[in-house]
Structure formats: C-alpha cells, structure tokens
C-alpha cells in the first residue's frame, strides 16, 4: 500500500474521483481542504522552473514578434533568401534534436543511477550542442564578413537578436551541463542534485522547442 492509499494526505489535487471513505459510519473526503501536506520539493522545484521557462518563452515571443514585423525591412540589403543556407540549418536542427534525445537518456540514467547512461548521455548532449553552436557561430561570422551584420538593416538586427539570444541560451545550457556532470561526479546522485538535473533537462528540451519555432519562422519561411 502506498502512502497515498493510506491517506497520508499527499498530492496537490484530489482528482482521483470519489475519494470518499467511510470513517465510523460518516462519509468524509479523504483529503479535507487544508489538510494536505505540501508537495515534495521535487514537484515544487520542477513547477517553479517550468514557470521560469514559460516566462523565457514569453520573452522569445517578443523577439519573434519583432522579427515578424521587421522581416521585410531590409533597407536594400540582403534578405533571408540571399543569406540562409538550409543545409546548415538542417544539420543544426538534427544536432539539437539528437541532443534533446540524448539529454532524455541522461535524465533516465540519473534516475536509474546508471553511470554509463548518465555520463554518456550528457557527453553526447554536449557534443551535439557544441556542434550546433559551432555551425551557428560559423554562420554568423560568415554573414558579418559579407557585410550582413546586425547593423546592416532592421531585418538583420531582429534576426541576430532572435537567433543570437537562442544561441546564448544554448551556450549557457552547455555550461550548466558541465556543471551538472561535475556535481553528480563529485556529490553523487543526491536528491538536490537530481532536482538540478531535472531542471537542466527541462531547460534543454525547451531550447529545442524554441529552435523548432526559429527554423520554421526564420529559416524555412525566410528562404522559401
């Protein structure tokens, strides 16, 4: 019997349907209002980080709106058709998607305390993430070299702000990844460390979601 069935009063909601039990002949809800213990730290930390990520997505949506408004304002300079190389973008997309997958493997490995899965998954995530970043920086440097830097036009300002902001997130994510590897290595699979691994996984998957929007709105629509 789990703690829940025993009526320990855990859990945020009482939605398991008709959880009324008979105590001494009178029916009362299993969880009276205000009678619940707070959720575990893992739930609260995960939920709080989810709220942060959603606010991050809201920030990105402002950059997306800016980009969409300014996408035709090229000031006589090069537009998306002239600049974007879809082969590179496809490789970047594949790298980020694979890194999301390997990050999931690392998450499983951390919970199951499988060192090979955790460290292997994190290492692959780092390699794919760094590969993504390398291609992106290469692309940016090439654009600036051909006179299509962020100062060239409103379109390019918006482009570098939006895609660059995602790139900064990936960079910070890679640093965080290394930190998590070091923490698990030094302190083991402690509950507080595992909560951080959970948050890192959420962060990394969210970066991939934002990239889906970027390669659709910026690259595919811009080059097509």
């Amino acid at each position: 019997m789990t703690a829940f069935e025993a009526g320990a009063g855990y859990g945020g909601q009482n939605r398991d349907g008709g959880a009324d039990v008979i105590f001494g002949g009178r029916s009362e809800p299993l969880y009276a209002h205000g009678d619940r213990s707070p959720a575990s730290k893992r739930i609260i930390v995960g939920y709080g980080f989810w709220i942060f990520l959603l606010s991050d997505i809201v920030m990105f949506s402002a950059f997306f709106a800016t980009y969409a408004v300014l996408v035709r304002e090229t000031a006589g300079g090069p537009g998306g058709k002239d600049l974007f190389n879809l082969t590179n973008v496809a490789i970047e997309t594949a790298f980020l998607l694979l890194s999301s997958f390997t990050c999931g493997i690392a998450t499983i490995g951390a919970r199951a305390r499988q060192a090979l899965m955790y460290y292997g998954g994190m290492a692959l995530t780092f390699v794919f993430g760094a590969g993504f970043l390398f291609i992106e920086i290469h692309e940016f440097v090439g654009m600036v070299a051909q006179g299509a830097g962020p100062t060239r036009s409103a379109f390019l300002s918006a482009f570098f702000t939006l895609v660059g902001c995602h790139g900064v997130h990936v960079t910070l994510g890679l640093l965080w990844l290394l930190t998590m590897v070091a923490q698990v290595f030094a302190k083991g699979y402690r509950a507080d460390i595992l909560r951080r691994v959970l948050c890192f996984g959420l962060f990394w998957h969210t970066l991939d979601i934002i990239w889906v929007a970027i390669f659709t709105v910026v690259y595919l629509m811009g080059a097509g």
Partner: protein, 128 residues
Amino acid sequence: MSRTDQETILDHGDAAPGDEPAGRHEVAEGLLGYLIGLFLAALITAVAFFIAGTNLVWGPSIPLALVVLAIAQIGVHLVFFIHITTGPDNTNNVLALAFGVLIVFLILVGSLWIMSNLSNNMTPMQMG
C-alpha cells in the same frame, strides 16, 4: 529505496514537468518514450524541410503548412520529452502552459496586427 522514489510515491497526485511519469521506472520504458518522440520529431522536421523547398504543393499554402507542422512538433516535444500529459497529476503544469501560450499568442498576434495596421495607414514615404 532512494529518496527520489519515495518522493514520487508521496506525490501521487502531482507530477513535475520533465520528470519521468510516475510508476514508470523501467529504463527500457523510459527509453521507448524518448525514441518515439525522436522518431516523430525527426519525421515532422523532415516533412517541413521537404515542403519548404518543393514545388509539388501549392505555393501559398506552404507557410500555413509549416506553421501547422511546427505546432505539431512542439506538441511532440511537450508530450514525449517534457512529459506534459492530460493526467490529473499534470493539471498545474498544463494550466501554466496554457497561460504561457495565451500570452505568446497575444504578443504575436497583437504586434503583427497593430504594426500592419500602422504601416497601412502611413503616408507613402518619398524614396531616395
């Protein structure tokens, strides 16, 4: 039993986003979920890149198709990678997500609407 597993049992009525679904501690099962997600996401991405560069579909429909595919792929990521479900333990996560989507929608549609209205009402500028 490890502390995390105990927490999962105690949190029967709630789930953290990104966490492995409760009662699914088998490594193989968890792996299968990520594999399905990877397969679906790769499929949708491939279709999106194909559609963007093809002449086989009616041109003006391409942007809309790309948006639909992107939303579908974001859904795949949410379900298989972030583990947002419709279960009762995920109500808080889904509500937060719904509010985030509402704000994103307002910012995007509001900006595009107002700015296109503004540029329609501008007097044409003297070029050169």
